[in-house]
């Protein structure tokens, strides 16, 4: 194990020097922010998500959740009907009634999100007012908040950003003289959270809290001594609001891959002034373990080309991992939205590639066919058609549902990319 490997630092962000980004506008082939409910309701275990929308919205969530049908899922759709469109006053009354029925049936709910959709926004049904009104009525039993997951405002993972942003004003205030504390923002799988908590404990860094919490009552405090480490690249609004509460957002690459995880942890360690040997003592072993595991599970990826359709905003960190740790060749890296400040360090690490922000799906499919990458990362609507054209694909949504962050998941991430290729190599039909 080389101690140096653990402490590789990126050069200063490239700024204008960074690769040019092509802007594209046309038909998008992405989910809307409602999709985030599928993982968020599993994360905050006493929260309920009530979409105020149409039959389409209900059908979207059901289709995105796919086989993950739970007996009594903690989400539902209040479907707007003809008469709700006729008068907003009645729609508000109807909504209150629907919420009351829901709370009656599900007494375990502590936090209720009213989630806005395209129809509710187009008819200007004010869900934040409704949430305020209902909160007043239902507190302290149930806190009611609202956010937009609509397709006209949010793309896929931006739904999580909007949800967390709605929670930020609810966070208790940490006193100005509180000891420095670390807040990890972004939904992570529980084992991943536990691993990170252990690593920070091992380097003597704390207290550490995770946002969103597993229970609505465990909202972490935030204040001027809070440092925020973003676990996900799509939390622009959440980060902005945390800063407005006095917190400092640390810039770092994202914890994907051994390198990304190490640099991410390092950003916190530096903020705490953890001496290098202590950092190395805590992270060197798992990092080395991760590198060895990646070398094995990602071995088949070296030299293979990869193409990313825009989907989750994870594309740039994933491309950085695929290129730098698996030796893959980047062709096109699409992202629905590029937050330059949060991705500055990622962009600095990213080898040359065609970076595209936004989407025109037909043109992008043309480029993909022309490029004929060895592996294409894309949404569920495109995967089988591309496979039928002879291209190996990885569904991007799996990268949201599978724990991929942290040292001990890095090899799993490489394996997710390697499996479609391995499968093709096996099949003789």
């Amino acid at each position: 194990m080389s101690a140096a490997a653990a402490t590789v630092r990126p050069e200063a962000p490239g700024g204008c020097g960074a690769a040019p980004v092509q802007q594209e506008r046309g038909q998008r082939e992405v989910f809307c922010g409602l999709t985030g409910i599928v993982w968020l309701h599993r994360k905050i275990q006493d929260a309920f998500f009530l979409v105020v929308g149409s039959r389409t919205c209900a059908h979207l969530i059901q289709s995105a959740a796919g086989v993950m049908i739970f007996a009594e899922p903690r989400f539902a759709t209040a479907i707007l009907e003809e008469r709700d469109l006729a008068g907003l006053a009645d729609a508000n009354e109807e909504l209150d009634r629907a919420v009351e029925r829901l709370i009656e049936r599900r007494p375990e709910i502590k936090l209720l999100f009213l989630v806005g959709s395209c129809p509710s926004e187009v008819i200007k049904l004010d869900l934040s007012r409704a949430a305020g009104r209902l909160s007043k009525k239902l507190m302290p039993r149930v806190r009611v908040l609202s956010y937009s997951g609509s397709g006209i405002e949010t793309t896929f993972t931006q739904g999580e950003d909007a949800c967390l942003a709605a929670l930020v004003p609810e966070l208790p205030a940490a006193p100005a003289d509180a000891a420095p504390n670390l807040l990890i923002a972004g939904a992570l799988a529980e084992p991943v959270e536990d691993q990170f908590a252990r690593l920070f404990a091992a380097m003597g860094l704390g207290p550490v809290s995770f946002f969103p919490p597993r229970r609505a009552a465990d909202l972490p405090a935030v204040g001027p001594t809070t440092r925020v480490l973003l676990a996900q690249p799509f939390l622009a609004e959440t980060a902005r609001l945390l800063e407005a509460r006095g917190a400092t957002v640390l810039t770092a690459p994202f914890p994907l891959g051994a390198e990304g995880t190490s640099l991410w942890l390092r950003a916190a360690a530096d903020a705490w002034g953890i001496p290098a040997p202590r950092f190395a003592a805590a992270t060197a072993l798992p990092e080395q373990r991760a590198r060895q595991a990646i070398a094995k599970s990602g071995a088949s990826l070296a030299g293979k080309s990869i193409f990313f359709f825009p989907d989750s905003q994870l594309e740039i960190p994933l491309a950085r991992f695929a290129a730098r740790e698996c030796g893959m060749r980047l062709t096109e890296v699409g992202t629905p939205y590029l937050h330059r400040a949060h991705l500055a360090q990622e962009l600095a690490l990213l080898p040359e590639a065609r970076l595209v922000e936004g989407q025109d799906v037909d043109k992008q499919l043309d480029r993909c066919r022309e490029t004929r990458p060895d592996l294409t990362v894309c949404g569920l609507g495109l995967a089988n058609p591309l496979e039928a054209e002879g291209m190996a694909t990885k569904w991007s949504i799996e990268l949201l549902f599978t724990p991929i962050q942290g040292f001990d998941q890095a090899a799993d991430l490489a394996a997710l990319f390697a499996r479609p290729l391995a499968r093709r190599a096996r099949l003789e039909v």
């Binding site: 038909q27 998008r28 082939e29 992405v30 989910f31 809307c32 922010g33 409602l34 149409s54 039959r55 389409t56 209900a58 059908h59 979207l60 059901q62 289709s63 995105a64 796919g66 049908i69 007996a71 899922p73 539902a76 759709t77 209040a78 479907i79 707007l80 009907e81 003809e82 709700d84 729609a91 109807e94 009634r97 629907a98 029925r101 395209c118 129809p119 008819i123 609509s150 397709g151 006209i152 405002e153 793309t155 084992p191 536990d194 252990r198 072993l285 798992p286 373990r289 060895q292 595991a293 094995k296 599970s297 569920l380 609507g381 495109l382 089988n384 058609p385 039928a388 001990d408 090899a411």
Partner: protein, 516 residues
């Protein structure tokens, strides 16, 4: 405002997509926000189609509202035509675009494209998927067959029929179509056009050339068939050939429509009647069955269950409100009350109250039945990837009846086996914690006491390894279906490395070691 957790039907524009995707040479330009593109996966993932549905979405965003959504629509339509060169363009709006009232039909016509434009208005806040499919199919048939004059045909020519109804994302439509086509061929009836599946707009224009229509799925083809009857005097079949009795009736109906006096005998491959009479099937007598699905499949299932398998139908319902009357009549004939409802929780409550021994339902009822520990077979949409089996598995015709026998009786037999297994589970051959597999949640949950913290590795016998409590806790976070493998791997890794106490690090070292 209706509170919904899971829905039986999607919005009406998904119905339109099912028609457009089934056809050839048609492209659908849908005014809709980006999230609505999820509907593509229904076709590419659930039905495993090898190409994208022929649909262009405008994917307008908030910033486009009030300014140029109409322009966006025109561009999308223009570009879709230029790229896909369809024979005709179908245009419409999803729920959100309906609210902004851009008039896709007018906008598309203003482009003066060199192909016909068919606009469908599907009120998203009133109607649902099947209605949307029926309305779209009807509008297309009207648009393309409307101007055709009926063709004079020679009297001795073999009779010709259209087959109407099979669509994309339909429950076993592909296999039913083949079965029914074979039946018609053996009767000597020529097939004129099959629609919408595989038909082009030009094919729709040929619909009037048939003598009569075979309607497989009234939910989808009923409106169009009624119009064809009014306009061209084409009669339609009324019987849906699901089950032996219905298939016989269907054949008689087709023979009458085609003027065939003595239809040939064609039941040689029909096994249901004999299987149902064999002594082995005795135990099926009076089995209590609860039926729920779309109207076509629920009605057929009630008939087959009661008259061909000797079950006792204790519940019958549908989410197809358009066909409530038919279902009510069938239920009344069985002496029960019909359940007309699209709230799956209400259906669940009705199932629980009826205490059936078998549920014939949709994927939704499959989950309910699992929860209640009742065997279940799926008979109807909404579909799931499992409803597109690789093998042929029709519901219609004599072979379809054979399939019904197998697929409805198998879960009952499985249930019996599991029950026996449960009875004998204390015997030494059976794992004490082996739970019935197919009954899922009804099986004992993992309430068994946590494994003892000290475990010996059985293999080799010589080395014993122990689990540190935190490693044991970590192990329990791994999903149960791979936990056993993780435990085995970690233990053999530890044994190999001479590790005596397994720590969290050993667990992940082993994970990394076995990573591939």
């Amino acid at each position: 405002m209706q509170l919904t957790l899971w829905t039986y039907e999607g919005p009406p524009h998904v119905g339109a997509m099912r028609i457009a995707t089934a056809m050839r040479g048609l492209h659908y330009v849908l005014h809709a926000p980006q999230g609505d593109t999820y509907a593509d996966l229904l076709f590419t993932m659930i039905e495993r189609r090898d190409r994208r549905p022929p649909v262009t979405y405008t994917t307008f965003q908030a910033r486009d509202l009030g300014s140029d959504t109409a322009e966006l629509f025109k561009n999308a339509a223009r570009e879709a035509y230029a790229r896909f060169k369809p024979e005709a363009l179908l245009v419409g709006a999803s729920c959100t675009a309906e609210l902004i009232q851009d008039d896709p039909g007018g906008l598309a016509r203003a482009l003066e494209l060199p192909v016909p434009v068919v606009a469908v208005e599907l009120p998203a806040y009133q109607k649902k998927e099947n209605w949307g499919a029926a309305e779209t199919f009807y509008q297309l048939v009207r648009a393309f067959a409307g101007r055709a004059a009926p063709v004079a045909r020679e009297a001795e020519a073999p009779k010709r029929a259209n087959i109407l109804g099979p669509a994309a994302l339909g429950f076993r439509h592909r296999d039913d179509l083949r079965e029914v086509s074979d039946l018609l061929a053996r009767l000597g009836v020529e097939i004129n056009v099959i629609a919408p599946l595989g038909a082009s707009p030009a094919d729709l224009a040929r619909l009037p050339q048939a003598d009569f229509n075979v309607v497989l799925y009234p939910e989808i083809a009923g409106t169009a068939a009624a119009w064809l009857e009014r306009k061209f005097g084409q009669k339609s079949t009324r019987t849906v050939p699901i089950g032996v009795g219905a298939t016989r009736e269907f054949l008689a109906e087709v023979a009458a429509l085609a003027g065939i006096d003595a239809p040939p005998a064609m039941e040689e491959a029909s096994r249901l009647p004999w299987y149902s009479r064999s002594v082995d099937a005795n135990y099926l007598t009076g089995k209590r069955v609860f039926i729920f699905g779309d109207a076509t499949h629920a009605l057929a299932a009630a008939r087959v269950a009661s008259r061909e398998l000797g079950f006792e139908v204790v519940g019958l319902g549908t989410y197809s409100r358009e066909f409530a009357r038919d279902i009510r009549a069938a239920a009344a004939a069985l002496g029960i009350e019909a359940l007309i409802c699209d709230d799956y929780l209400e259906v669940e409550a009705a199932i629980a109250a009826a205490q059936p021994e078998l549920v014939l339902g949709t994927q939704m009822e499959r989950h309910t039945a699992k929860k209640l520990g009742i065997p279940c077979a799926v008979i109807s949409s909404p579909v799931h990837v499992q409803d597109f089996p690789a093998r042929r598995s029709p519901q219609m015709g004599f072979e379809g009846a054979n399939v019904l026998f197998d697929s409805w009786v198998a879960p009952l037999m499985m249930g019996l086996e599991e029950h026996l297994l449960g009875m004998f589970r204390e015997d030494f051959e059976f794992h004490a914690d082996a739970a019935p597999s197919h009954l899922g949640a009804a099986a004992a949950p993992e309430t068994a006491p946590a494994p003892a913290p000290v475990l010996a590795v059985a293999a080799g016998g010589a080395q014993g390894v122990t689990w540190a409590p935190d490693a044991e806790r970590e192990l329990r976070k791994i999903p149960f279906f791979v936990r056993g493998k993780a435990r085995r791997n970690t233990e053999s890794f530890a044994a190999e490395k001479g590790v005596v106490t397994i720590t969290v690090d050993t667990l992940y070292d082993a994970k990394a070691h076995y990573a591939s």
